[in-house]
Point group: C2
Chain length 333, copies 2
């Protein structure tokens, strides 16, 4: 493959390497999101599934199974499961966040209604559980049902922690594990389990997914304050305007003097925001080096992800997953 050169992005190289398997995943997703009885279901899901995204999570499952030498068919079921859980979560998140856009298109709750988003999300969760039962592997079921509980718990925790200035970095980490890392680590772990890999390899795959997911979310939260909106598709300061207490602000609040604390109480906790407040928030983040410290945290998690990958056997996919970790953090370097 002449295109498979070092300059292409690691997730693109993974997608090419796993092309046949990914096509099988896409076929299975399309089959299983259909509903004989309720045509509203494929309408809503097709809107979201066709919008694409990088299919990062199912790719992690396929890659992990491949890396551990799996030769069966059930990696495809588990990859589709992971994507269904992710899509269901997005549908419910958009209701909870009252979002208007997702992947550059109007959200389902805007195009149809919140009711459809809630119920079609439930349908996708149920379909995910049907899919994960099919391989008949109880440990896989244990991992994925636990992940679903951690995801929901993280989302609820975020509801109560979001505007609470008492939120610590530990609580932030719990929320991030729930909302992002739990599905990444489940995706990689089940790839190893289905391949019947040795215990230390399964553990390393879990650690890689966990650290990659945490870094992924920290980078997202950092880009919200220092990203280039043409590259990220988000506007700088969205989280500030939505009063989300993310890692940069948690660090700045921890270092705040009395006047600064009053500023955060007013803008985040009470939500009284005026012109110029975002600029002042950015100035405080820079003053306390909160953005630099957040960047260092993301880099530390990526180092952990790569260290976990280094313990796995030599394999073409291993290099791609290591490069993927570097790529996640390259957006903020």
């Amino acid at each position: 493959m002449g295109l498979d050169h070092a300059a292409s992005k690691p997730h693109e190289r993974l997608a090419r390497h796993l092309d046949t398997r990914m096509q099988a995943v896409n076929t299975l997703i399309r089959e299983r999101m259909a509903s004989r009885h309720a045509p509203r279901i494929p309408e809503v899901t097709a809107h979201l599934v066709d919008a694409g995204g990088k299919r990062l999570r199912p790719m992690l499952t396929l890659a992990s199974a491949d890396l551990c030498g799996y030769g069966g068919d059930f990696d495809v079921h588990l990859a589709a499961t992971v994507e269904f859980i992710h899509t269901a979560t997005l549908l419910h998140d958009d209701v909870v966040d009252e979002s208007q856009q997702r992947r550059g298109r109007p959200t389902a709750n805007l195009l149809w209604d919140n009711k459809s988003s809630v119920l079609v999300g439930d349908y996708l969760f149920a379909r995910a559980f049907q899919l994960m039962v099919e391989p008949g592997n109880l440990r896989v079921l244990d991992i994925l049902s636990n992940a679903a509980a951690v995801i929901a718990e993280g989302e609820v925790l975020q509801l109560s922690a979001a505007r609470d200035l008492g939120t610590t970095e530990d609580v932030y980490l719990q929320v991030v594990r729930g909302k992002t890392a739990a599905l990444f680590s489940a995706a990689t772990e089940v790839g190893g389990v289905i391949a019947d890999a040795p215990e230390e390899q399964v553990r390393a795959l879990f650690d890689y997914g966990d650290a990659l997911g945490i870094a992924f979310q920290i980078v997202d939260d950092l880009l919200d304050y220092e990203g280039d909106s043409t590259a990220t598709g988000k506007n700088v300061g969205d989280d500030f305007r939505e009063r989300k207490l993310t890692l940069p602000v948690i660090k700045a609040v921890a270092a705040a003097d009395e006047a600064e604390r009053a500023f955060w109480v007013r803008t985040i906790q009470k939500g009284q925001q005026n012109d110029g407040d975002l600029d002042h928030a950015l100035a405080l983040l820079h003053k306390h080096a909160a953005l630099a410290a957040t960047r260092a945290d993301a880099q530390a998690w990526i180092a952990k992800a790569k260290a976990a990958m280094d313990t796995l056997p030599d394999h073409p996919v291993r290099g791609m997953l290591t490069d993927l970790a570097d790529y996640v953090v390259s957006r903020i370097n």
Copy 2:
């Protein structure tokens, strides 16, 4: 037990017969609805779980396992699973229906917010899946994950069918199987499966739960038009005002002349309702004997439930389940 006389209600006799097991179910529910990280979760679930209800669905699982001679511990896990799925569905239903009251108390979406109801419902679904994995029985997992998909599909179907005068009795039946009967039949079926009962007994338990659930919902829809509001806790005509196309109206629409059809189009499809419309609707239901025909349908389903029960071996619980079927329909006799 002196109280265990023929005059007490069948679900009360079942509850007494299964008392120790039901206490174990309640303990497990309380344990598993806790969350170390997100205190909002037990607040919301306790509100709903403590409000009680008759715990009919978990009782059906325990009764079915008992009837088939089960001597293990996992009936309790499956009963708790069924109640968690039911509770999660109620939380999401109240968001979808914008309900204000449930079991005589304000709904969670009113006390907290829709966000909490959506996310705590997701948490309970995930907890249900964790619980159902524990017995390690793949057939049980298959039944319960299929039921979850049928439930969600039925709810979505109801969204699109609710105000559509083209809705047939077949579609109504699909909706009812989804929103009510699928969990009843899964509850009874898994009781037989976990007890390793012969195939024809498992099938009979499924048929009993399916028919009982369908009758249960038809009775509910009938009482909405002819119930005594002090006994049902519902106001006569709630479904009419909420423009829900239930079985009595479907029957009356099928028999409607042109003027009557225009009335249903205006009141149900377009939602333009005036004083006196409910009385006119009731008059049309009586004119076409739609209430009597609906009652006959419920009775026919109850006969099916009892016939299925008759094929099962003699056992104290069998009589209670037969009486329970009679009791469900006694409210409209």
